[in-house]
Symmetry: C2
Subunit: 392 residues, 2 copies
Amino acid sequence: MKKGIAEVPGVKCGVGFGGIKKTIHPTNKPDTLLITFDEPSTFVAVFTQNEVKAAPIKVSQQIKGKISGIVANSGNANACTGDEGIQNALTMIQLAKEYSKTKGQFLVASTGVIGEPLPMDRIEKGIKEAAKNLGEAVSIQPAEAIMTTDTFPKVAFEEGKGYVIGGIAKGAGMIDPSMATMLSFIATDAQIPEDLLKTALKEAVEVSFNAITVDGDMSTNDCVFLVATGKSNVEINKDNFSEFKRKLTNLLKSLAYQIVKDGEGATKVARIRIKNAVNREQAKKIARKIALSPLVKTAIFGCDPNWGRIIAAAGAAQAGFKEEKAELKIGQYLLFKNGKKSNYNEEKVWKYMKDNEEIVIELHLNQGTEEFEYLTCDFSYDYIKINAEYRT
Amino acid sequence: MKKGIAEVPGVKCGVGFGGIKKTIHPTNKPDTLLITFDEPSTFVAVFTQNEVKAAPIKVSQQIKGKISGIVANSGNANACTGDEGIQNALTMIQLAKEYSKTKGQFLVASTGVIGEPLPMDRIEKGIKEAAKNLGEAVSIQPAEAIMTTDTFPKVAFEEGKGYVIGGIAKGAGMIDPSMATMLSFIATDAQIPEDLLKTALKEAVEVSFNAITVDGDMSTNDCVFLVATGKSNVEINKDNFSEFKRKLTNLLKSLAYQIVKDGEGATKVARIRIKNAVNREQAKKIARKIALSPLVKTAIFGCDPNWGRIIAAAGAAQAGFKEEKAELKIGQYLLFKNGKKSNYNEEKVWKYMKDNEEIVIELHLNQGTEEFEYLTCDFSYDYIKINAEYRT
């Protein structure tokens, strides 16, 4: 059985079906998620940097101190909904507290279509049902409740020395860092002070959720909540902090990978690995520009080792790329060196791209020692299909 | 008959078929263009800002003083081709001078696939043929010789008081400002000093070629050449400069519009008009982010008035967008005001988007008095088809 957030001691999950997302998922998948913590717990959060923030983001950003629970829905983003939206987000929290008979503060999150008022009768139905089965939703079930165009639920789990970390995420479209269009809820039973938790989350997000793209669109609703229940009684301090951070990073990278793999219409994941850069910023800028290029993404879909588009994108990043120094590999094949095409067997590279679901594109800048890796997916007919027909 | 660069007094055009682009256009369309000027002429040029520059760009950037001609080919970009590429670009100029029996300097440009050495025997065949019919290629014929994935030739012509301006352009994919993936050659028979010509071109490019996008990919080969033959004997000075600039801007805007209309797989052109901005920079940033958003572009393809994606993109621009002040219109329909959906008839907006090839998206920021307009096109199945199969 796959483990996620429900398998972290001190966490209880329940899911409900309110009928909120039936236009997106006509199946009877749950659309409401309720999470409660046995004790008020330390938490840190990261929110979208979009200047347009959904109502639940605005509400959750105000919450300080410890939290007792999280309530979330899929199918409706409660974004661009004015004062009514804020009121509805507050009502979601109120309903979650009442039905789960939990005191203390709740975080709230929503994902789905922008601009429609939340159908509060369905929201209430969902929360009521989720409260009834609180503690019974396990494994992938909490992740299923926050899916929209996702085709599979995203969970990850890590074990440290005496503690665990478990998380879920959703995300498939409108994915672009800082943040991606995604929700992610993570819990650990470690005891960890808020400032350490914040540092760990910030650094882990930078190389995971902030290093992926599906379509370069930044959402109004992105948020990552990380909660420490303390149930393990294992304290994180300067001795074991780096282990904790490594475990958390692995977990976030796993969730981020799953989001890209489930990118709308994606058939392949590409690792854009920039090496030997002057600094990390340069590596990231070039990696991001390549990862975002529709021409590179369509070439990956077509299994076309079109290295010219990759080199053109690297130059377009305007980060000090030097074509005469660079070396480009796809898989083990060297395609470009000394400012021009190298001798390679086109058929073999095509076959590598055709046969693998994960493509490694490695660009050595040969200007320094820093590196950065970005994850992206290919651009297929289905991306167009999903997004031209999403609301109809 | 449509007029282009060949209709400017003092300009002669010839086209040739060397067989360079037969993998792209299996038809017998010309792939070589030769332009000569009756007298050495003043010119100004704008080049791609991509750090990876094609060999012809590197060669043309070195040319100062007056020029006697331009030689260009389509089907092969002569980009990422090392020292051999530079040599081949210089040879193109040499061949153009010899076959056309023209003394003086030539500019050189190439467009097409990146990374393959120029097939010099075919290039020579094309230039030889073009020189033979020099002066006979008129109207759309010079534009046809520089087409790659373009589906129609792009020409424009303007008449000022006593002088004319004529131009051609190519471009359909890898289009993103500063510069777009395009070539454009423009001539005027006005007499105008180089500094005024430079100012006029810079300002006109800013609101035309630098205000369009097809896919956000910046090319290695973009260039715009503007030549003044002086044949009209009409001098441009401070009295008639603003008229000249206006005419030139109109011409460039017309060519830019044609490029977006011919965007790879495009079925619609969208005008992203940002009004009442604090300053032009803010308006441009927000317009550009909306114009680049794959989610907005797929919604336009689906005729879906999905205003949430437009508002989310405006916020993602991080240029000080304030959702509570903004008003969004598609066509004449007000979709968003006071931070939320306004009352509109979804069916009517859908019909407007369905029935029109040009969609006007107008976002009033209500923060100031400045504005900027960006042109983009929709994202369709055919964009994927063209770019996943381009080289195969």
